[in-house]
Symmetry: C2
Subunit: 335 residues, 2 copies
């Protein structure tokens, strides 16, 4: 395979571009078959590139001081801030100079930019954002957490197929179990959307559809691909984050409560931390926006170097495994 | 206030009617202003009533050996199993002999029975099931987790008002904070249902509407009444149960991992258990089905005596505080 480039928007995150470059440096050490195109403050980037001793022959910088912030209205920002680091990075994918683009900026703007700038791949009706969420054993793909809050059955069917291709090729899960998130196990349960989608999923011969999954079984890892509309997906994703944070702070507070709990806490803190580490998804890359002509990956606003480097490796895996053309084939097969 | 009765379906739970009677005995000791009507196996009930030394003058038994099981189709079961313990208990409310009814049986059947047998109160468009879900400080009412999976804006507005009345009168929260569950904080975020509902809620002068709440803020207790359609409500409720169970089993497994963690675990186990006890809602009664001509309370299928007695005290509080007529007034005020 020829060399390829990954574009990275280095602005828009909470922790500044230094962590971005730290992560990029790390990924560049892990693999040598790609180059990077960085959009952001050129001077600052040059300083960090020197600091982390990156191979400069593999780096192109596109200077941009314009930033899309979290306060910007997504569609408006994509249209008006043509020189922003995010739009410039997306443009690299559109123009074919990069195969993927990573950003920690405004999620809504990135979703809009993916659609309007990069554009949908052939046969794709809607482009879902599909983060991996941790479970007891590994992770499941929660598809969709993007913009399709009022979805149609045919979108969910496509999401099921895209998610299946993704998990098979990126996470290496053979014949991934696909389930639709529902409020009961039986096919006649659910809202209109779910009830209309289930028979369509049952007809799909090319995915391993196991039926409905109740939300209580998500942490138990009973399915690899969790299909839902983006409203439900967002609620689950955010609730997971919230409850995880609350529980961990509750544990931590409890262990500090008295002299005795501090002694016990000193012993169990490290093993507990290790246990809960798998519920922190920063080693799993970012959330891919699937179904585009290239790949767009959203990483957390508060991401650090780990998440940046794993997102780059995720893009690499996506490109090397030609996931986009496999998605297009999977969607064509349905007709 | 005159004496009143509470009807209790003693079949349909996983743990048998002995726990039901144990809980009933406990509640009868806590307050003396009510009687109970028990539906179920008469002989069995008599044995337990003796065992727990209940005041027999306060108990009426309606013998029933027919049971609605979790495998029955809800509407069908309510229609065909006229002599089942659940239908008989609901009938007591319909006929005015009881003011409330408690059951641990088939949720769908109880929801259907509430609507078809007890009937909606004046002005009520849909009857929501509204469990309390625990948060860091206390609990929030999650309204709706019932049958209204494809809701309309005007239903959600009524849910907001009913929930507000409930939390003020039953949980004693003055001017409860009402929020709509959404995927962003701004009013323009959300699916069609949420976007159409927000302006209607902003117009309601009689509730303390604080806007949208993201699911991540639910465990932080940022709102007292959480308004959503029943699909979203069910997903949150089940996910909460699932993640709680998974995290607690993860902690427990970690503490058993080695000799050292067992020593540390022995010290911190009790305080941790105490911390997480507040996330187990069995001392908060059951989930009320609101907006009926009486009160119907769903308790867990695996409930034990604690949940039964607290559900009875919850019914008592509902009746004494005349919550039903306050709900009707609140809904009338909107016109």
């Amino acid at each position: 395979m020829d060399r390829y480039s990954i574009a990275i928007d280095t602005l828009g995150g909470d922790n500044g571009s230094r962590y971005m470059v730290m992560g990029i440096a790390d990924a560049m050490k892990q693999a040598n078959d790609f180059d990077v195109i960085l959009t952001g403050h050129e001077d600052e980037l040059k300083t960090y590139i020197n600091e982390f001793n990156c191979d400069k022959t593999r780096i192109t910088i596109i200077d941009s001081s314009e930033e899309i912030t979290c306060h910007d209205s997504p569609v408006e920002a994509i249209r008006s801030k043509k020189k922003s680091s995010m739009v410039l990075a997306l443009n690299e994918v559109k123009e074919g100079r990069a195969k993927a683009c990573i950003s920690s900026g405004n999620s809504g703007a990135l979703l809009a930019g993916g659609q309007f700038i990069v554009g949908r791949a052939k046969g794709v009706k809607r482009t879902p954002l599909a983060p991996l969420i941790p479970n007891k054993f590994s992770s499941s793909l929660l598809i969709d957490c993007g913009a399709n809050v009022d979805a149609k059955p045919e979108y969910l069917v496509q999401f099921a197929k895209m998610g299946s291709v993704y998990m098979e090729n990126i996470e290496g899960i053979k014949n991934p179990k696909v389930a639709i998130i529902n409020i009961g196990a039986e096919d006649e349960k659910g809202n209109e959307l779910v009830k209309e989608t289930i028979p369509l999923l049952r007809e799909c011969k090319d995915i391993n559809f196991i039926g409905s999954i109740e939300a209580r079984d998500i942490p138990e890892g009973k399915a690899d691909v969790l299909v839902c509309d983006a409203f439900v997906g967002n609620v689950i994703l955010k609730f997971y984050e919230g409850i995880g944070k609350t529980f961990i702070s509750e544990i931590s507070d409890t262990l500090k409560k008295s002299f005795f709990t501090m002694i016990g806490g000193a012993i169990v803190k490290k093993p507990l931390k290790k246990t809960f580490k798998k519920y922190m998804a920063d080693n799993k890359g970012g959330a891919p926006l699937l179904g585009l002509k290239g790949l767009v990956v959203k990483i957390h606003g508060n991401c650090k170097n780990n998440e940046v480097s794993s997102a780059i490796m995720q893009c690499r895996s996506f490109i090397i495994n030609e996931v986009n053309s496999k998605i297009v084939s999977a969607l064509e097969a349905e007709k």
